[in-house]
């Protein structure tokens, strides 16, 4: 069974260190891409909620070519220890390469 989507976002940041929303979605597309919940609005909410809870922090932001904001997040120490505590090792290896 897959990880819940928000946990998968945190798990990807754990592996990548930092990434923008597009990159996160690209990495998770093979697993979640066919689901209706797979859209940018939902993933921005995931990232911002992780930030509000101190598990991730915004690294930088800039305007993309489409004039939309590109938000770049990195995992915090709290986020890292949360993944190490609660995400099974197999997921830490398998997802988001």
């Amino acid at each position: 069974m897959l990880l819940p989507a928000r946990t998968a976002v945190l798990n990807f940041l754990y592996q990548a260190g930092e990434a923008d929303i597009d990159k996160i979605m690209e990495a998770l597309k093979p697993m979640y891409g066919t689901e209706k919940q797979f859209n940018k609005k939902m993933f921005m909410e995931h990232a911002m909620s992780l930030e509000a809870n101190g598990l991730a922090e915004m690294k930088s932001y800039e305007l993309g070519q489409d004039g939309e904001l590109m938000l770049r997040y990195q995992i915090t120490d709290d986020g890292r220890s949360t993944v190490e505590k609660y995400v099974p090792v197999t997921f830490r290896r398998k997802e988001g390469k």
Binding site: M1, L2, L3, P4, A5, R6, T7, L10, E35, K36, Q37, F38, H46, M48, S49, L50, A52, N53, G54, L55, Y61, E62, L63, L69, T82, K85, Y86, V87
Partner: protein
């Protein structure tokens, strides 16, 4: 130029996120007031109105209400394409924490809240609202979210409001004090649930977490608690009667919206602020009970409700900020 418009967009986005968090908290309070009133209205119909025993009606109504709320939420999450997330979340440790929170917040807190309402009327509502105080206290102990002096002041004001309400006992309610104690049990349990859900919710989608919460709470109350207190025949009769079930369907919808917004606010603007906005239900609950159920408005309940809401506002924000201009 590009940089400054990126800055402006970012500011706008942050503001939108915060406004969504705060308004979710406010809506959760309003809809909780509606839920409270509708559950009491359902209790005015047969077979609930003539049921005996202090616990039967509160647990039958809270079990049915929570389970129906869970079904509403299944429809909502199904529409958003998130049904698979339920199983995925339950498979994680934080998902199991949500279940623990549901057991404390559901059968324990909701049952105690409705028992409190049955025995002490609208007086129980603001007392249970001190849950924000317990929430902030437990968040301090377990999550190391240290409250500021302002938050502590707001919390003390909330307690003062609760004491004010309890100052003058209404005449002719022999179980008043037990009712108030039940409301207090609800407050402590909700405070604990808020912390547990904010913890579990931090890496889970809160819309999914709250769905699990309502389904678990409703199912455990109906399958375990109701038969234990020998209230199963009452539950069956309530389902058969139709009208009370319909009202509980509506109260379930209000509760679903309320919990959805409450969990969202907790995860967007923090546990202390989310819970403080949620407790404005005390104000709405009392107003609706006076308007629609003919509860008597006394000076102490008015003063106490206003003080509690004021305390909740102070926990949430610095009123002086409203006067400051942005630099």
């Amino acid at each position: 130029m590009g940089n400054s418009s990126a800055n402006a967009k970012m500011q706008q986005l942050n503001k939108k996120f915060r406004v969504t968090g705060i308004s979710s908290g406010v809506i959760s309070g309003l809809t909780y007031g509606i839920y409270t009133t509708l559950v009491l209205v359902a209790g005015l119909y047969e077979p609930l109105v003539s049921a005996v025993g202090l616990l039967a009606v509160p647990f039958v109504t809270s079990g049915l209400n929570d389970f129906l709320a869970g079904l509403w939420l299944l429809l909502y999450n199904g529409g958003k394409g998130r049904l698979k997330e339920l199983g995925r979340s339950l498979n994680t440790f934080p998902g199991k924490m949500v279940v623990v929170g549901a057991l404390i917040g559901g059968p324990v807190a909701n049952g105690a809240y409705l028992a409190g309402l049955a025995m002490a009327g609208a007086y129980a509502i603001p007392i249970s609202a001190t849950c924000s105080l317990f929430g902030a206290l437990f968040a301090w102990i377990f999550l190391k979210q240290k409250p500021t002096k302002r938050v502590v002041l707001g919390m003390v004001i909330c307690v003062a409001g609760a004491i004010t309400i309890n100052w003058v006992k209404p005449e002719g309610s022999p179980n008043f004090t037990i009712g108030i104690i039940c409301a207090l049990v609800a407050a402590v349990s909700w405070g604990l649930e808020g912390v547990i859900s904010s913890y579990g919710g931090s890496m889970l989608d809160t819309d999914v977490a709250v769905n699990i919460r309502e389904l678990v709470s409703g199912a455990v109350t109906m399958i375990v608690v109701v038969p234990l207190i020998a209230a199963f025949p009452l539950m069956a009769a309530t389902v058969k009667a139709g009208v009370p079930l319909l009202i509980l369907g509506l109260s379930g919808l209000s509760a679903a919206i309320s919990f959805l917004c409450w969990y969202k606010a907790n995860s967007m603007v923090g546990c202390a602020i989310g819970m403080s906005l949620n407790v404005t239900y005390a104000f709405w609950g009392v107003i609706f009970c006076v308007l629609f159920l003919g509860e008597v408005l006394t000076p102490t309940i008015v003063a106490g409700s206003v003080i509690i809401v004021l305390g909740a506002v102070i926990v949430t924000m610095n009123p002086l900020d409203l006067l400051k201009k942005e630099a």
